[in-house]
Amino acid sequence: METTPQTGLSLEHPIHDLEIVRNHIREGRFQRSLSLLTAFASLMSGIEVSYEHYRGSYGRRVMYTPVILSAVLFFAGIGGFFSKRIARTILRFVSVVTLVDSLIGFYFHVRGIKRKPGGWRLPMVNMIMGPPVFAPLLFGTSAYLGLIASYLRREDKTPSLPRRSPNVPGKSLSRTAERDLLSSEQDIREGRFQRQMAIATGISALMSGFEAFYSHYKNNFKYKAQWTPVILAPMLAAASFASVKNRKAAITVLPAISVLACADAAAGFYYHARGVLRRPGGHKHIFYNILYGPPIFAPLLFGAAGALGILASLLGRRRR
């Protein structure tokens, strides 16, 4: 059987390949794929934040940071695909910095809404017309993926021994904390972080659901289909949080709703793209219409939550 040396996949037997992929995930052997996914997610986020911050006219220099970081994270993800060392060092570092940046962005967005006339006393108007409140944290999703990826094993067959020392340089921790950290890292490395990923899925679903809610409120849910992400998101969140306690939920409800979410995201992307082209001038003013039409990447972010959910359902759980 022909196998590509790195991943063990043969392209001639898709069912068998799917099984291999599933095992890889369950064993935590998907660093390269996740690095690539990180790069892709970062590219999408980067494009989105670039033009959204252009709408905000880069009124503060800090608005350039997510643009720059998403480009760096993109390259780090590509690098992580090719090199284990880059995945474990550069990708990890850039991901952490990007996560910090997304928190800074969240602070500035909340502050920006407060500084609009009426501030938080006019919550709907100012969230809709001000900076999108959860967008920076959703932007952090790609960094979260990158961080996870930096701890995983790679798809090749060579076993990697767990590292002895915890990855927290210079700090003195108690023995239990040290052991916990080591154990967490090992869990990730071996694919046993289903619950953590379920939590991430739940939070991500809630945030993008809320974004969908107030954004669709802007045109008053003119199309009934606009309710679907608003209904699915809390369902996905519920399934995700249930999966933290309940292993059965993690392998039944969670993947089911996650797939629905992904399908809904695809439909949303289609509707948004159609909405962009239906704007006055259509393709003749395509850049402007992308800027001010329905945000074409937003449904994909909801799809990202769904993808996290699917990934979570495939993972192993911690032994404790």
Partner: protein, 258 residues
């Protein structure tokens, strides 16, 4: 107090049934819409100015009583309000009276117009003379439709009488001025905003639905109904023509065919 019995000849008509439409609280296609209900969302300075406009009864200080009666009647033709119940009619004369009393103007006077304070006094004479010329009686003595026809002659720029007055006051600029004063008073009022579906003051809360005419959550969707001008009205027509390109020609009558 006996309620006013509406003269049905002065009421707008439902074109399907031919019946007069009874006066209502709020004519217009935005039934249920109230800009005043949104005043908690206005800023203090704006709220004060707008509420004063609604609540305060301005005394009449510039016009003498007879002049006030005269011009109130004229304004009832320029901006008729018989489709409104009496308690919800928008006063027009007080705002004009205040402006003239304070000597406030728009900041310019056309060469062929007297000063604002004289326009209304001279104009009153001119309208009375026009009424005499057309129907042999003073303006106020005429029935409603004839009053309207007298004013229409001036609107058309074809007055039959008062030639000496129109020599020192442009008939077209005069008409423009009295219409502008009427509009200034009527459409500054929140009840008029409700009638036409205008959002009213918008600070600090402004709009989030800018396109496709979508209503804000607190605005109301349009509910159109058909209506025709009353039978005793001569002011229901409009003329759209694109024969005029300059302002000096436009403000004269279209029907003159210049």
């Amino acid at each position: 107090m006996t309620p006013e019995v509406p003269d049905t000849a002065l009421l707008p008509i439902d074109p399907d049934s031919g019946e007069p439409i009874m006066p209502r609280l709020q004519p217009g296609y935005y039934s249920g819409f109230s800009t005043l209900s949104q005043k908690p969302f206005w800023d203090d300075a704006t709220r004060k100015v707008v509420l004063e406009r609604v609540e305060k009864k301005e005394p009449i200080r510039f016009f003498k009583p007879a002049q006030a009666r005269f011009w109130t009647t004229v304004f009832d033709h320029l901006i008729p309000q018989t489709d409104r119940i009496p308690e919800r009619r928008i006063p027009i004369l007080p705002a004009l009276d205040k402006r003239l009393f304070l000597g406030r103007t728009v900041g310019y006077r056309f060469e062929n117009m007297p000063h604002d304070c004289d326009v209304y006094l001279i104009g009153m004479d001119a309208i009375d003379q026009e009424a005499q010329q057309h129907f042999g009686g003073g303006f106020l003595s005429l029935p409603h439709l004839r009053q309207e026809l007298v004013l229409k002659a001036i609107h058309d720029g074809e007055p039959k009488g008062a030639a000496s007055i129109w020599k020192r006051m442009s008939v077209h600029r005069f008409w423009q001025q009295i219409m502008q004063d009427a509009i200034d008073a009527y459409y500054a009022h929140p009840w008029a905003w409700d009638e036409i579906g205008f959002g009213g003051p918008a600070y600090p809360r402004a709009y989030m639905r800018l396109e496709r005419g979508e209503p804000e959550p607190w605005e109301v969707a349009e509910q159109r109904y058909a209506w025709a001008a009353p039978s005793h009205a001569a002011s229901g027509e409009s003329e759209t023509t694109h024969e005029f390109y300059t302002e000096s020609l436009q403000h004269r009558s279209h029907s003159k065919g210049i």
